[in-house]
Each structure stands twice: as structure tokens, then as C-alpha cells.
Symmetry: C2
Subunit: 321 residues, 2 copies
Amino acid sequence: MNPKQIIQEIVAEKEVDQVVFVGCGASKADLYPAKYFLEQEAKELRAAHFTANEFNYATPVSVDEHTVVISASLGGTTPETVAANRHAQKSGATVVSLTRSVDSPLAKTADYVIYHGFAENYAAKLEKTGYALQLAVELLHQIEGYAHYDSMQEGFEKIYELAQRSAEAAGKSAKKFAERFKDESGIYVMSSGASHEVAYSTSACLMMEMQWLHSGTFHSGEFFHGPFEIVDRDVPFILLMNDGRTRDIDARALAFLERFDAKTEVVDSLDYGLSSHIPAEVLDYFNPFVLTAVFRVYAEELASARQHPLTKRRYMWKLSY
Amino acid sequence: MNPKQIIQEIVAEKEVDQVVFVGCGASKADLYPAKYFLEQEAKELRAAHFTANEFNYATPVSVDEHTVVISASLGGTTPETVAANRHAQKSGATVVSLTRSVDSPLAKTADYVIYHGFAENYAAKLEKTGYALQLAVELLHQIEGYAHYDSMQEGFEKIYELAQRSAEAAGKSAKKFAERFKDESGIYVMSSGASHEVAYSTSACLMMEMQWLHSGTFHSGEFFHGPFEIVDRDVPFILLMNDGRTRDIDARALAFLERFDAKTEVVDSLDYGLSSHIPAEVLDYFNPFVLTAVFRVYAEELASARQHPLTKRRYMWKLSY
């Protein structure tokens, strides 16, 4: 079933008043745009977003048969997220899971499963984010009505091709970035709006996990309320710039970084033509797709320049912990 | 008026269905326990938490006359937060502000103001967090009813003295910490549960802003899903350990840090007797008080050992930006 059919079936059966997004690491971050969308656009529906064990150990009292839990795990085996599915079902919630792994533990503990791509190309890596956002849009539209539903559909029709094309066009800039940053030992990552947790997963997963580089991340609106005191000539920053309502927040951070000669790399949705393809009224929600696709190329080039493959781990997949 | 009276007056006038917490930096983080409490305990009330400019530039459509906005700014002049007050009022929301600064711009743009202490002692620095949490408890209890209301009151009666005593008892450990970490150039900070953003403000404000130290922060449940690949012998970590439901999450991260000889400093609510003073059913919500008070002493000792006063800035209060 597709997201629309799944939500139709759920709302035909029960009154939904809450959507809880649960995952770990990049799979948690990939759910953020959907949570952000509901927080922005829902008049009544509640939305929450947890790392799986926080949800497991401190489950909100509101999680009951009126809750839809949307969980994600790429390989479908993340123990905390599988436990969250079981826990959610025991609380009476309906569970929709996103994974690429057929018949995985995550798939087996969900009421509904959507299988997404990943390895095929840059666009496929965005399907998890995309399905979560589609589920959120369907929930909102079918429960409360959503004025820009058609614009969102237009966005979904166009975003994968645009993101793929953007990634393919990013090679030259990505190579330059890799050369400039390959000898750094650490790097900060910022963004805002729907892309806040693209910055988070870029920092926690691409930099720390996959490159063993030191990293920190924060909302670009928070930059001026603490983190900016670390800025000095050549301190490395990646700014993932949004096109849309929060652009001014990102631009203000950029102006400061440039003023004090921080070593700044900007990946900007505007450069990839987001607003020429996506209707203005839903523009914000599609930034994460372009930024994720383009920065993946940057990470690949960095890995290559540092001779540290993105798949290399010292603990993950190697030890029990 | 005290928090109870303020909420009585608000709910007598209007039906409240949403509470939005807005601030910047440490004042944003200080509101997190209140948001966490509502997300945990409310069956119907919605809760959200934003850095002020995210709220200003991308205001949720749900912000209307049924919304209470709770904002905070220590000095009452943070431009983004003052703008958020104006913006919230224009949307019809009722604004309750926390500040220590009488007749400040923040106070003048709020419907209700609670003035809190700060400089008097360690306990006074917790009043902002405490009033926000009291407001959240009153909102929940007066609107939906809350079974553990009396336990929370017992907690409020005891927590300030316990936190003050804890800070006063922390000197020796804090000095040892400062000696051990004074030559580090960066340090990670983790926590979970209601203390998640104590870790955030420790990282973004105490380390980056006030010590110009590199830092990153994440939920200790996220540690195993990316960040832990950075762990190696002597990589510096601060773990703010909670007593209560999410303790196992923190303890699992600690076991890993110790297994690989990371340079780990643990500040643990359990060591300061939190559970002997606070009723078990509300224990989680009082961790941030003890951890904040104790770590303040650690930060002071670190500042002293590094000869870098906590008040020293290069940009904040010095430039326009």
C-alpha cells in the first residue's frame, strides 16, 4: 500500500490525535522533516519525535490507540527501534515502519510497512524522508484538511529528479570542498527550518560516524546565542542553507562567519533551483531533499580525499554494546 | 502573581490547547524540562519548543488565541525573543515571560511576567527553569488534571535547597575535573530525558561561548547511532547522568566510554541524593536542577584553571551582528 492508502485505512478505523516519529541516528533525522511539517501545519494533531530508547524508557502517557507511530530503520534491525515498535503496539498505537529490508524485525513488528530504496542512486536515499513526509501530509489532509495538499503532491513528483540532478551537478564543488577540508580534525554543521536535522545527521553520522571527525551541530538561529564565540579565522563550518522562510536565519549566520574569516562551506538549495521547481507555499519542506543529496556527494569526495571510506567503522557492526 | 495564579487567570478567560516555549541559547535550554514534562504527561495539550527566530520566521499555523507562549531571556533584551513576544501577541496568543530584568523589553511585551533570581546563589540560577516547569504543571493540572500534582509541589519545595547543597558539595570533584580537563581543546556533552538540553547548554554556552572550547552534544540514546565512532582513548566526554527512567540509557553510554578509555567525567544526580528527596513518580523532572547547579561549579573551576573567566566574550555584548 502507498502512504495514502495506509492512512485511509487507519483513519477509517480510528480517530487519530497524535503522530510520534521514532528512530535512531540518521533514521531519526530522516523523520524530522515530517515532524516539522506537522508542527508547522497541523491545527489539532500532535506531533513528537524521539530517539527510540527515549521513547522506550520514558513513553509519553498520551501514546494510546489514537496514536500513529512512524518508525524507521534502514536495515530494519536496529534493536531500540524494533523495541519501540513492540512497545508502541502494546500501548495500542498503530505502527507504520519504513525500512529497505523485507521481512526484517522492524517490518515484522509493524502494522504497516513501506519499503524504500537506498543504494540505487542519490534520489533513492531520500525515499525514507519522502515516505515519512507523505505519511504526515496524508494524516494532516485526511484528518484536518490541508490547503496545500496539491502543491505538496507536485513537490513529491518533482523532488527526486531534482535532488538526483543536483547531486550529479555537485561533483566539482564537492571535490573543491574535499581538497579544502581534508586535513581538518573537526567541523561544525548548521541549518534551520525543516533541514535542522539534516545538519544533525551530517554532523553525527557523516562526520563523526563515517569519517571519525570531531563535530558539533546546532540550529543556525542558535548560533548567536553561544556557539558563535568559537568562531575564529579558519575554524571550519558547513552551513546548509535553506530556500524559504528560514533563509534569513541561515544568511545571518553566514554573514558572521564570513566577517570573521571562518573556513566556511555553504551548500545552498537556492543554487540548485529548488524554488523554480517547487511551489512557494510548500518550498520549506523540500530543502532537506536537495541538501541531503548534494551533501552526500560532498561526503563521498571528502572520504575519498581522506582515504577513509564512508563504510569504515571501528565499533558499529563489529562489537556488541 | 505566582505561576498558579497566572494560569488560573488565563484558563478562566480562554480554552488553552497549546503551549509553545520560546527562547535563545541557555534561556531556550532552560525551558526544555517544562516542554519535556508536557510532552510526557499531557493527554491532550500540545507542546512545542523553538529557538526564537525559528518561531518568528516560521510560525506554526496553530499559534492563535488558544496558545500560551512561555518565553525567557535572562536580561530581557534578547531581540529575537522580544520579537517572538510581539509576534505571539499579534497571533492572539497569551504571553508569559521569564526574566530577571524589571521593565525590560521582554517584560513590556508580555501579558504576564515572572521575575526570577540568578546571581544570588546556585539555586537562584535554577529559578527560570523552575518557574517554566511550574507553569507547565499548572497548565496541565488546571486544564486536564494531573495525578502527581502534589508530588511535583513537594519537589518544588525541596529542589532549590537540594541543588544549592549539591553545588556546595561539588567543589572537590569540580577542582579535580578542572585539573584533568584544563588543557583539552574540545569536549563532548551527553544526557537524556529532561536533562537533554542541560547537556545542550553545557556544550553551547558553558563550553563554546564561555570557554571558547570546541564542543558537540547529543542525546545519550543517540550516542550509539553515529557519535560513538569518535570514541578513542582520551577523547573527552562529560556525561550528565539522570536518576529515573532514562538512567539505563546514560549508563549504557558510560559503559562504552569506560570500555574504550575515553576521558570521561560523570556528574550523576544519584550521587547528590536526588531520589532520597524527590518522590519517585516525578523524579525525572528534577534531574536538570541538580545537574545544572553542580556543573556550574565544574564550569567555574574549569574557568579558573584555564584562566578564562566565564564572563569573557569576543563577540557577544561587543559587536552588532
